[in-house]
């Protein structure tokens, strides 16, 4: 209950922050809508329509009201409601982040398990190196270098974009999830193309996330390994793998799950950069395009959506932990 209250409060503050940004911005929303060459009367009419001369509290309450109805305003560059734009682009980002999360979870947990089973200088050092470099590398630059090596020079994978040009304009994209749409198109080449364009972005995001996953899982597993129940299980003749999977993992699950949820939230941020480097249509690219166009409704709409996902993921971890770990109930 407490968690829920603070979750809602945080979301409300997020809305207030975006409202303040809207008000403090030097961009005049009415002028942006009607254009520089509009007549004065058209400009004044737009100001009236957008209720820009009302008091701030009144405007804020209207802002909340519109948000409740899913109205995020109209994008200046696409001319479409921002909510419709976002609905179109978010599946691509969710696909990218989820795939990266799956890869980093599997790899990260495997690495952590190996490191725990062979505690020693080499594996410890390796894990530390991975997490240090993973946390330090500018992901947008790594993406560029990966494109140079694996696409331009070695030609192992597809380049920027989500599909080869031959498919980009021929297959329908009803869901926006490129793997699903490519599979639905019935063309085997489309699916292969989608996969080859996905490999590098997913790996880049994995590089972004794997350091945290590995380090946190390793710390948690190590702490559990020194508990007495582990000694008991070993004394009863359980093999190391059995100890790890049947005894340690259930106890460590809650903390590891928290780490994973936090990592997933941070992947949404990483996706903004990766989508820009790889020119993949998605939430992040929508946001950066809007930033260049000074398209304020689109900027704030995308910020609200990504921010809300981030906050909800953060807030839900408590709930998740209680579901998984009976001790926390």
């Amino acid at each position: 209950m407490r968690g829920l209250v603070s979750l809602v409060l945080t979301l409300v503050v997020l809305v207030v922050v975006t409202f303040l940004l809207l008000k403090l911005s030097p961009i005049d929303p009415a002028l942006a809508r009607v254009g520089d060459h509009a007549s004065r009367s058209a400009y004044l009419q737009m100001r009236q329509e957008l209720a820009l001369d009302a008091s701030w509290p009144l405007q804020l309450s209207r802002y909340f009201g519109r948000l409740f109805h899913g109205d995020l305003g109209v994008s200046l560059s696409s001319g479409q409601p921002v909510a419709d734009d976002l609905r179109r682009v978010w599946p691509a980002t969710a696909e990218l982040a989820t795939l990266a999360m799956a890869v980093s979870t599997i790899l990260g947990l495997a690495l952590a398990t190996i490191a725990v089973r062979r505690v020693g200088r080499l594996s410890d050092g390796l894990i530390r190196l991975i997490s240090l470099v993973g946390n330090s590398v500018p992901i947008f630059w790594l993406g560029l270098i990966a494109l140079l090596v694996f696409y331009a020079r070695l030609q192992w994978v597809g380049g920027p974009g989500r599909l080869d040009d031959a498919y980009e304009y021929t297959i329908a994209m009803p869901t926006g999830v490129v793997l699903f749409d490519a599979w639905r198109s019935g063309m085997p080449g489309a699916l292969v193309s989608a996969l080859s364009h996905l490999v590098l972005p997913v790996l880049m995001l994995t590089a972004y996330a794997i350091g945290n996953v590995t380090r946190l899982s390793r710390t948690t597993l190590l702490k559990e390994m020194t508990q007495e129940y582990v000694t008991l299980a070993r004394a009863k003749g359980a093999g190391e793998l059995r100890v790890l999977l049947h005894h340690v993992l259930p106890n460590a699950a809650a903390l590891i799950l928290t780490a994973l949820a936090l990592t997933y939230a941070s992947l949404l941020e990483g996706a903004v950069l990766v989508e820009t480097v790889f020119a993949r249509p998605g939430l992040g690219r929508y946001l950066t395009t809007a930033l260049f166009g000074g398209d304020l409704p689109a900027i704030l709409g995308a910020t609200l959506l990504i921010g809300a996902c981030f906050i909800v993921l953060n807030g839900l971890t408590d709930l998740l932990v209680r579901l998984v770990d009976p001790r926390a109930r």
Partner: protein
């Protein structure tokens, strides 16, 4: 154990190197970072231009050297604002408790749940590109970690003998809080700060890469990566060099944090 000390040493060494480079930039750089020699554009690395030249014929190494000033300056500026704000709020919250604590730690938790990079993007997008807005965004989203840290430390201290002794000597108010409570927060603070400086360097470079940092032609690492990115398939060194600098600077602070964390 020795590995951690080595990491911290490596971190300190690299940070010291960047500091020297930024102070001595005018002597180290052999070219004006803004000088455009269009005839010499996109040159590969040579004895004349060690790291080659960019799309406008500017010397990449000289721009890299001057870029150090901007990156370190921004990181120092953000830290100088964010740390005092966070510490003050945290100490007040931990010391006074009650409704002050309720409001302040509520605010801390809320801001802490915000996505830093996205909020920084929104700030710069709404208020206009440029360094001051980048710094403002990073400060506004960065302080809660310090508030939380100082609050926890203050609450622990409140019941210790040495604070009681100080109070009995008549030391109260700001002098108690900042003379006796604050120093106790320093060890935990150092680790956090080193981690955050690494993060600030990455975030600033990311904003520069997206074209939201300093205005051209000022040399900035993230912006240089973006400029080099346009020709990365043919002249890869233009993007590779500034990216490596970002990696090294961020890695240095992360290594320092890693070493400091294990000393405790």
């Amino acid at each position: 154990m020795s590995g951690h000390t080595a990491a911290a040493r490596f971190g300190l060494l690299v940070i010291a190197m960047f500091l020297v480079v930024s102070l001595a930039a005018p002597w180290l750089a052999s070219f004006d970072p803004l000088l455009q020699e269009i005839g010499d554009r996109l040159q590969p690395p040579s004895l004349h231009h060690w790291l080659g030249t960019d799309g406008l014929g500017r010397d990449v190494l000289s721009r890299l050297i001057y870029g150090t000033r901007l990156t370190l300056g921004l990181a120092a500026f953000v830290a100088a604002l964010m740390v005092p704000i966070g510490l003050t709020l945290g100490i007040l919250s931990g010391h006074f408790g009650g409704w002050i604590d309720w409001v302040l730690s509520g605010l801390t938790n809320i801001v802490m749940a915000f996505p830093q990079l996205i909020l920084a993007l929104a700030f710069v997008g709404a208020l206009g590109p440029g360094l001051p807005n980048v710094a403002l965004a990073l400060v506004l989203t960065g302080w809660p970690a310090y508030a939380r840290l100082a609050r926890a430390e203050t609450q622990l201290l409140r019941r210790t003998d040495y604070i009681a002794a100080a109070q009995m000597l008549g030391i109260v108010g700001p002098r108690l809080l900042f003379g006796h409570v604050l120093p106790a927060c320093v060890p935990a603070l150092r680790v956090r700060l080193a981690l955050d400086l690494a993060g600030i360097i990455l975030a600033a470079a990311a904003l520069g890469f997206l074209g939201l940092g300093v205005r051209p032609p000022t040399p900035e690492w993230g912006t240089m990566v973006a400029e080099g990115g346009k020709v990365v398939f043919d002249q890869w060194w233009i993007a590779a060099a500034p990216g490596t600098a970002v990696l090294l600077a961020s890695l240095a602070f992360n290594c320092l944090a890693d070493g400091l964390r294990d000393r405790e």
